[in-house]
Subunit: 274 residues, 3 copies
């Protein structure tokens, strides 16, 4: 199944509109190209609706948001909704400031999201569940482990029912849930957290998977999550062989996405239905 979802991205080459932070924006563009999609970035209120209308999906990422870009996110989100295009929310740093938490909460009221992807702290902040956010990393007490897995799953599903979005909660174990079903994914490598923007990149790529696989939102998100994690594993092997660090790792991660075939994803994906 997952292999076909990946191949659909390469076959359809969806154009993805990104309103995203300036820290990791270049990597988001390049991972979209690596997976077979095309990126366009635009964040001015004067053009976001037109740009979204040209696109197959919209990725809204609230890192480095500001007074100028917040209304653009809402405008683009509403337009994408009106046109039936999938919209993804990456609530980077929700919980770290009232501006981020409030903006994400406000977007949840005005825009219908196909998916929401964040770490546990960020997702909890959106629920008002009071997770302590340490910058853009998940707080230690908010990590998903084998011990709190059932609790985390129930939480993700409840949030999915509340929002109507597929909830993608990433960490050592990734959870992909809608209101009825949930998957666990155990692909990935700890070194992914030593590169800035692996979460942002996954959100961009997930938007492409959603756009290329209409009607299969849960599976599309799972495929993107497994693909990213598997590429993280492949990158680790190559970095080790080259005695590299996180810069090499970043490049190897993108290159693994570039080379990943549907068959390789099928063979390497480690997921289970919960």
């Amino acid at each position: 199944m997952l292999g076909k979802l990946l191949e659909n991205v390469r076959a359809k080459a969806p154009l993805i509109h990104n309103i995203t932070n300036y820290v990791t924006v270049n990597d988001c563009a390049n991972i979209l190209l690596a997976c077979g999609a095309s990126p366009i970035m635009a964040d001015d209120c004067g053009e976001v609706e037109e740009i979204t209308a040209l696109c197959d999906g919209l990725n809204i990422n609230i890192g480095t948001l500001n007074a100028r870009t917040i209304p653009a996110m809402e405008l683009a989100g509403r337009r994408a909704n009106a046109l039936g295009r999938p919209v993804l929310l990456d609530p980077v740093g929700a919980g770290a400031s009232a501006l981020r938490t409030g903006t994400a909460a406000s977007l949840l009221k005005t825009v219908r999201f196909a998916a929401i992807r964040g770490n546990v702290s960020e997702i909890k902040a959106l629920c008002g569940a009071g997770g302590a956010t340490k910058g853009v990393d998940a707080d230690l007490s908010d990590r998903v482990t084998e011990e709190n897995l059932d609790q985390a799953l129930a939480f993700a599903q409840a949030f999915s029912r509340e929002t109507g979005a597929v909830v993608v909660m990433t960490g050592a174990i990734d959870i992909v849930a809608d209101g009825r079903r949930a998957y666990l994914c155990r692909n990935g490598d700890p070194m992914m957290s030593r590169v800035t923007g692996t979460g942002c990149m996954l959100s961009a790529m997930t938007t492409a998977y959603l756009a290329a696989n209409p009607g299969q939102a849960l599976e599309a998100c799972l495929a993107a999550v497994c693909a990213m994690g598997l590429c993280g594993e492949i990158a680790r092997e190559r970095v080790r062989a080259a005695d590299g660090g996180n810069a090499r790792y970043r490049a190897e991660l993108l290159d693994a996405v570039y080379r990943l075939s549907g068959d390789a994803l099928e063979a390497g994906a480690q997921y289970q239905i919960s």
Copy 2:
């Protein structure tokens, strides 16, 4: 001839002011350093005129433009004109939104450009010729092929006569034209389109070539186009040997620019006068 134009960049180390998008800005800075120039980025109305006055050339790129940066583009452009410094326009995504098309059109009225570099769709949008822009990539129907080459050449020359700028229309075949003469360049590799910002990078580098070679605008543009395409070919060989993807390709492309000598450019450039 082209080799000497390249060597002039390394010898004069022109300082280039860039008002450019935040997606590919880092690559623009690094390709300027790779080719022997120096970059400075500044986009606030409060300083762009002073910064431009320090510089040898100005590169205006309208990707991720916004209400704050548009007047800065005009201010800087006018100042560069007044000082006789070459100004290049990269109309990223012209045709994709009224804001981009309108901004580019407005700049064409208020600023005198030494060169305009874009893909066929973007250039057509500026002519009001009605090209359908798919994001920042040329629409299929807008690709320059052997079949429509004569038409594309005539179009580029007409646009050059209209604007007074050298027109650089890049694609599978690149066209470099002024009102009287035109060159075709067949260097390049399809993988260049799988890295975000190769067009932006070429625009930045072309500005450096213009700045270092006064009075030879057409040839300076041709040299930059051939150099970029040739480096794209070199990068492809090295990526293939390393089993890489688009991240590795990006690095190899920049590194090829860094290493490229005048002699290597002379030997590898594939161009003809039309």
Copy 3:
């Protein structure tokens, strides 16, 4: 001594708030991760105080500053001061425009900096000493050489006494000075100046060293400067072996930071007390 300062960064993993330019922001985030710290970027007045309050240090970099971010720098700086967190100023391009020089000067009045890091031209601009700034590179006449070393040292120390900050003046020879003591560092490689943002990256990393080593500001700055220079040397060897250019160099530099141990820093640091 230096090795222990490095290890403190890895052990404490300080969270660093960066208000920085969009050209090199991604590299700043990745070098923070490489050295063992964590980055967060936020520049909107609506959140910078909250973000700074979550963090262990604040890095203010005035490259691509604009009307929107200038007040955010002041707000964040004051808050960090109130909380006793170290604040570093990187006056990128001071001297190149009245906006940059004036903003840096204004920040020096309203914020107490633990350290100021720039090249000689930038530091001189802040003193009103009239250095001619060529973009973001040190003017030739402003390079620190064996001949003008005593003068440069006296200048750095005077500026440190004026501001209360450790002054880090980088170039072929790096100077790290407070009002009473000064160190020279001779690590580094000329190729560092062929990659955009090596100065910005050093500033980000220095902020992490300051945050992880309270009460040892002078030594923390020295350790960061030596670490960066040593990694520049390591990167040069690897780039040469790979026949690379400045893109490869950038990656090797970050990877060297990622791998650098306290022992390796002790063994490789080339500094002397002046």
